[in-house]
Symmetry: C2
Subunit: 347 residues, 2 copies
DNA sequence: CTGAAAGCGCTTACAG
DNA sequence: CTGAAAGCGCTTACAG
């Protein structure tokens, strides 16, 4: 498992230090059973011979692993990269080694990745499931006693634990805010109905409309890819409408950026001619002109909580934990037009 | 290493199929030595009992590993995420499992990550070294016969192989382009002198100036963080100058976005009042208004080439390969002002 | 506190 | 083509 040539093993250390294998093993594990002088002797042999601990051999013997699998649907999306970084940070300080893999949102690639992780003998799996993941995709791990946490994206019907943002809540807060600004025709742009997150956000959107007595109009829910381009195209679908909306909640910030771009190309501006609200609050959101009003999701925080939940399960030997939801918060900036409205009412 | 409870092993399969361990092992490895009917029998036992191959045990016995370490300085930067994705893709199809780790550009964290990877017994390491990495940081792997590839960022003085973009070439092409548009005072914005990539790009910048007979003015090389904020601050440092520049080559696109933002806040625009060129060509570059002129670097391509170089070394048992450089290309859009100039000369 | 012995799940010559 | 045996580098009771 380690270097191919002339590996220094625990036996070499034992010989050099004049003790038995067991003693070296105990020193390696920081056991209090070994006399300090003996431990020092062993430590200096380790340094002298340049010994490297073979984690794989240890894992094999102990029948447990210090590897955890982290399966991310799109690592090139900074939002999910933040999630991965949060997860990684917690595991590394806890002495676990995270295996990060990217599925490109393909259920097939995810299948391959999960197989590799099973063979590698991971102690647990944290995944943001790819689009189209089957409900039972992770059952193999659970059956084998390996805990699974779904982070950021849930998997309805799955027996695994989930740590996800309050999507419904965030969407309804955003829509309520738009209604408060006087909007009645509000679109929901981006995503597809087979995405859990879209279902949740659309549900929050509908709730807020209902509470305000505004009838739900399904033609205002526009499907589109989760990209700038998707945002542009979704916005274009709004133009020929008989009664076009005056505002939109977008699936996420990237889609919102696309909508703002499309507006700009028409010589119009978000917040003045059309209200735009995003979801996620990526780093760019506050830097755009106009600055994007959006629902803040703490991706790193969700990653950290998912990892902590996993650690707890590994240590207690359970495969189920409590589902958690991460708080979200509406961040009002300029693209929703709230500031313009404030100016107007003052003057 | 695998699940804690009642693992199905190769012995169970052998018993169920009525053959010996060796035969099962050969079937698992797809050997042609086993009779097809025997292999089928074994395969159906594998399915029946839900056997999962224990890669760790195999690695231990074979004294080699199917794990490769991928050490990235900043996974939340989409540019480096693309690099990681390119690397991952090549390894996965070749049957290797990439361990992706994020160092947050800290040499200390990188040290920890590398130690963990050594203990895990990786077959190779691909790294974009963290800022401040010592020349000998990877020597332990090389000494142990484990190949190391530096991807995207070189490590001068290191004995490892590198796959990096043509930074000098890209920078000099960009500056030559600006000179061709009539600029004489051209700044270089972002990065720090202890960054190899900054040294290379500044060197290309100087070369182009020299070739045009423009004296190098060190006060026009402004240090700044590689962020939007860094770009904003670098641009602000230009304002109080007695003879401010009329153009800038930025360390990368993110810095260039910051510069464009700072311009906008002053009511000025890139390409009209000040020429801006970036480096990298991230996805957003073409979508900005004005669209960013930049030097395109194929991050995924560099990742793929780095991974291929690594695979070759692993398979041939060598620890050194040829250094490679990835082609770069100036993509002229709007922020450099070339289009405005063209319009003017036409009218 | 320390040593001898067995075994984790696999692969690899070596016979047959 | 298939089986018996040894061993990869470690940990874990079990004696002492």
């Amino acid at each position: 498992m380690p270097a191919q040539r002339s590996t220094v093993t625990l036996i070499d250390i034992a010989r050099d230090a004049g003790v038995s294998k067991s003693t070296v093993s105990l020193v390696l594990q920081g056991s209090a059973l070994v006399r300090p002088e003996t431990a020092d002797k062993v430590q200096s042999s380790i340094r002298k011979l340049g010994y490297v601990y073979n984690r794989g051999a240890a894992n094999l013997r102990r029948a447990r692993s210090n590897i955890v699998g982290v399966v991310i649907n799109d690592l090139t999306n900074p939002f999910f990269a933040e999630l991965a970084v949060g997860i990684e940070r917690v595991f590394r300080v806890a002495g676990y080694v995270p295996f990060i893999a990217n599925t490109e949102d393909s259920a097939l690639r995810q299948e391959e990745v999960l197989q590799a992780m099973r063979e590698q003998g991971v102690a647990g799996i944290i995944a943001s499931p790819a689009r189209g993941t089957r409900t039972d995709a992770f059952d193999g791990f659970l059956k084998a006693g390996v805990p699974v946490v779904h982070a950021m994206r849930g998997l309805p019907g799955s027996r695994a634990t989930s740590v996800t943002p309050q999507n419904e809540r965030g969407a309804s807060d955003a829509v309520r805010h738009l209604i408060g600004l006087g909007h009645r025709r509000i679109a929901f742009l981006g995503g597809y109905p087979d995405m859990v997150v879209q279902q949740q956000r659309v549900s929050g959107y509908r709730t807020a409309l209902q509470q305000a007595g505004i009838p739900f109009d399904p033609t205002l829910v526009i499907e589109a890819d989760l990209s700038r381009d998707g945002g542009i195209r979704a916005f274009e679908r709004l133009q020929p409408m008989a009664a076009p909306p005056s505002a939109a909640l977008c699936f996420n910030d990237i889609v919102a950026f696309g909508v703002m771009l499309a507006l700009k190309r028409l010589g119009r501006e978000a917040g003045t001619d059309f209200a735009v609200v995003g979801f996620d609050d990526v780093a760019e959101a506050g830097l755009y002109t106009p600055a994007l009003t959006t629902v803040k999701v703490d991706a790193q925080g969700i990653g950290e909580r998912a990892a902590q939940a996993m650690l707890k399960m590994i240590e207690t030997g359970r495969i189920h934990g409590e589902d958690q939801s991460g708080a979200v918060q509406l961040v009002v900036r300029e693209s929703c037009g709230a500031s313009k409205l404030a100016e107007r009412s003052v003057s």
